[in-house]
Symmetry: C2
DNA sequence: TTAATATACATAATTTTCTTATGTATTTAT
DNA sequence: ATAAATACATAAGAAAATTATGTATATTAA
């Protein structure tokens, strides 16, 4: 796990990117996907995730669909066209940011 | 300029790395150095910078030396040995974080 | 020459964003 | 049966930034 401060500011970008690649995902699924893909290095907390998902829905960036699975409800989120545009912008901005930070900190990133 | 949320959490790393490379720098100098090195893409704000410098000093990570230049005072900050170790750890963590994010977001960073 | 900009520090109020804690409830594994 | 995992949600508090404000000197441009 990284010191929490590093991860700050990347939550929206992560959510939007994953929802750009998968037509629908639910909250818990997002937490597991991120945990798996990062070897546990990034773990989304519910207290941060759910309010952010709600906010993105209120802004029209995501839409929801509640599904009953067994006896439990599962709330699927899907990205809207405008959300897809925002996702792309956010990813581009983050890519640029990384390049800038590599220069500024004189990093030698080990790219697999 | 990046959306502010992205830069969050990187301030300490930036300060400590620059002070690892330069034996002493003052606050305003740090703002200008970062602005120059990033082509204006990252601009440290005084409201964030000064409280952070004070905190790092209180933690024994930085030491200060006030110098009179003309009629104005300039407060130079220098990194301590323990601070140098923390700087190195922070830079390593950030490098690892970048690698993780590149994987997670499937980025193709354009490395000069 | 005077007005604006740059240099140089500092702090307070507010906002944003996250963590931590708490709550409910079902399902699966031990 | 009990614990852990699945699945949602929200509220209180902390952390870290932004924005605004304040003081003061030095330099540049009108």
């Amino acid at each position: 796990m990284y010191s929490s401060e590093l991860i700050k500011g990347t939550l929206k970008t992560i959510i939007l990117k994953l929802l750009s690649e998968n037509e629908k995902m639910y909250g818990y699924e997002l937490t597991q996907k991120v945990k798996d893909m990062t070897g546990g290095k990034i773990q989304l907390t519910e207290g941060a995730l759910y309010p952010t998902l709600h906010a993105l829905e209120n802004q029209g960036i995501l839409t929801t669909e509640v599904v009953n699975v067994g006896n439990r409800l599962r709330k699927y989120y899907a990205i809207t066209p405008s959300g897809r545009k925002i996702a792309s912008e956010k990813v581009n901005e983050f890519t640029d940011f990384i390049a800038t930070m590599i220069t500024l900190l004189d990093l030698k990133p080990n790219l697999g």
